[in-house]
């Protein structure tokens, strides 16, 4: 390859490794992400045309602004961000690996001069005895050192938390792992939904933007759905579905209640309580007793439905309400006597003796008021989610290591100088210099004490 070609390649490589590109891609991601929070995403054309003119709509549509987080340019920015992450890690990682695994046991004077945390003492004594004393000093105050000898003198080297240098790379790797998890989820997972009426069951679900249903391979029955409120207020307390899973004719999960923060998982699929609605007419159950007789008749009636009573009179459910003026469930019945005259009776579930007080021929009680619901379940499968959690764990671990731990190195160098022994203490930390300076100052004092004690 020609020198020029190599020069071009090198500058392309340097471009992808550069911190400037990191800052550019982070800031561009931040700024462009705003678009999707201002323009509502994934609405229909009609809904957009209510807000935008035809022309603006077409421009924004061409720029993929209506599904921008999946647009080619936004994905492109994310890819650029990842390439930058990978390249600068590849560039720097081997050097860090080398520093960690091949420590400078006996650095040259030139190298030692570059460090700013230094102390030097000139003491009388035997270099061997002093070396032993310094070994003990480092082992007590810091950690056990390694000893190296050469023509320049004796070198003691000790370091702590060398793996702290990898924190940054763990953090970088974690981002790639999270993206990998997201890709796995997108390729092998799906999000669907299904509505099941109470008492009904289903063996298929629907995916968004897909016409044909997806067979589950087992069936799910909704035994019951209920919604409860706090006191008499409209503030919801709980949405609860009771589900049974039937797999190959056998009950695999029996009457398992699910609520909003407690889903059901079966065979890699998870069913979440998502919404609900009414499935068909509401039903009231009433009991009728003739005054002075023991026999009681029970009926379940829809709104407007009529039924004949034993002696030929008829009763019709004129209206009912789940909650009538804080009195709870109530029903208004129309009693049509054989003779033709009609009168209205109101009964309350919470006041069972209310109708008896009326002193009529019949005593009605409202036993129950039942609304048949369907439960709306969100169904998802995401085999990538554990990969994402692994990435998240590594991200927190990596950033804690990167921010709060530091690789600290201490050298003690002993060399003969004009009949005396020159003892140098040199320290270095790969981050948090001010903190290390304080630590080094203290170490320096102990170092001097240790040398002075004879």
């Amino acid at each position: 390859m020609s020198t020029m070609g190599r020069g071009v390649l090198n500058s392309i490589w340097d471009f992808f490794c550069s911190l400037k590109l990191t800052i550019f891609s982070l800031i561009s991601l931040a700024v462009t992400s705003i678009i999707g929070t201002v323009i509502q995403q994934n609405l229909s054309r009609q809904e957009y045309l209510k807000v935008f003119s035809e022309k603006t709509y077409r421009i924004l549509d061409n720029l993929q602004c209506f599904d921008m987080y999946h647009s080619s340019w936004f994905i492109g920015l994310l890819v650029l961000f990842c390439i930058n992450l990978i390249c600068c890690s590849i560039k720097r990682f081997p050097r860090v690996w080398h520093v960690v695994h091949n420590p400078m046991l006996a650095p040259s004077d030139q190298v030692l001069k570059a460090f700013s945390n230094v102390d030097e003492q000139l003491v009388k004594g035997d270099i061997k005895e002093l070396t032993g004393r310094m070994e003990k000093f480092l082992a007590e105050q810091f950690t056990v050192p390694q000893l190296t000898k050469n023509e320049d003198g004796v070198y003691l080297y000790a370091d702590k938390m060398k793996y702290a240098r990898f924190g940054v790379y763990i953090t970088h790797l974690s981002i790639l792992i999270i993206f990998l998890g997201a890709i796995i989820g997108n390729v092998y997972g799906f999000k669907g939904y299904v509505n099941i009426p109470e008492g009904g069951s289903t063996d298929k679900i629907w995916l968004r933007n897909v016409q044909a249903p997806l067979p589950l391979g087992f069936s799910v029955r909704c035994e019951d759905f209920s919604v409860s409120f706090y006191g008499n207020s409209q503030r919801p307390k709980e949405y609860r579905s009771v589900l049974t899973v039937i797999d190959q004719g056998e009950v695999a999960v029996d009457h398992r209640p699910i609520v909003v923060n407690d889903p059901l998982s079966y065979k890699g699929l998870t069913f979440y309580q998502s919404n609900y609605g009414s499935a068909g007419d509401e039903v009231v159950s009433i009991k009728v007793k003739m005054r002075g007789e023991d026999k009681v008749d029970a009926f379940s009636l829809k709104r407007g439905q009529q039924v004949e009573l034993p002696n030929g009179d008829r009763v019709r459910v004129a209206d009912f309400a789940a909650s009538f003026r804080n009195f709870g469930p109530a029903a208004r019945l129309e009693v049509l006597a054989k003779g033709g005259e009609a009168h209205i009776v109101t009964i309350f579930k919470n006041f069972p003796n209310f109708d008896e007080e009326r002193k009529g021929d019949y005593i009605f009680t409202l036993v129950d008021f039942d609304q048949l619901y369907y439960t709306g379940l969100q169904v998802t499968k995401d085999p990538g989610v554990w990969v994402v959690w692994l990435g998240c764990f590594l991200m927190v671990l990596g950033s804690l290591v990167a921010f709060f731990l530091s690789h600290r190195r201490i050298w003690v160098v002993l060399s003969e100088k004009r009949g005396k022994v020159g003892v140098r203490l040199i320290g270095s930390a790969h981050r948090n210099q001010p903190g290390f300076e304080l630590y080094f100052d203290e170490l320096k004092n102990k170092f001097r004490e240790s040398l002075a004690s004879n």
Partner: protein
Amino acid sequence: MSSGQLFNFVTIGYFAAMILFIAFIATRSAIVAKLATVFAFVGFVVQTFAIGLRWYETYQIPGGAGYAPLSNLYESVVFFSWTILLIYLLIDLMYKQRSVGAFVLPFAFLAMTWAQLRLDATIAPLIPALQSNWLTYHVITCFLGYAAFAVACGISIMYLIKVRKEDRADENQVGGIVGTFPSAKILDDLNYKAIMIGFPLLSLGIITGAAWANYAWGTYWSWDPKETWSLIVWFIYAAFLHARITRGWAGRKAAILSIIGFAATIFCYLGVNLLLAGLHSYGS
């Protein structure tokens, strides 16, 4: 005594601390600075107790199942001011730079004033979506992160004022109002340290939010405006952390990035709820 009354005392305490810190900058009296710190600390202790009292009160309402008081806008704003004081007092304990208080206490005081005067303090039991322990983990981590960013923003403003004065005057003659300020180098370092605390907490806040969303709805990420804005904040502080090790981006530009980051944080916290549609409607 109710928690609401105690929160009023807390607001007054933070106001006094704020005024005293400003007085310290003007007078340079060490006693004033000490008094300001005492007010801030006592306010913080009372607020801690008041939050505990409100927690107790959630059990006392009819049919109340009790919940950690972090569920609506009022409770979150009160908690935000508490976290600001927590992070501030920690940094004060470590670095003893008293003038920083004048730039941090106003955030806590404003939050308390807004909560006490304008927000609905009614204790209401939790709707189904919020009935989860994830709510507590998510809110605590997010707000500790937000608070660290608030402290960083206050320090960055000090930094910008300080370097402007330093540029105009000779090194030795930096006096007047900025005389009590730590040197630009220390401010730059404090700014970094505060963000260093905030960034992993924000990451944890986003992760606990994602874990909760996945547990409750089956989607850990759906590009909801709140989620997206938290990611925008994350991007900005990630840029800040990388900018610091780049030549030409340290110092003034990093301080500006820190202020922009906090503005984005506030938009993420309040702007999204008040201006945009989404999942985090604070039950309104």
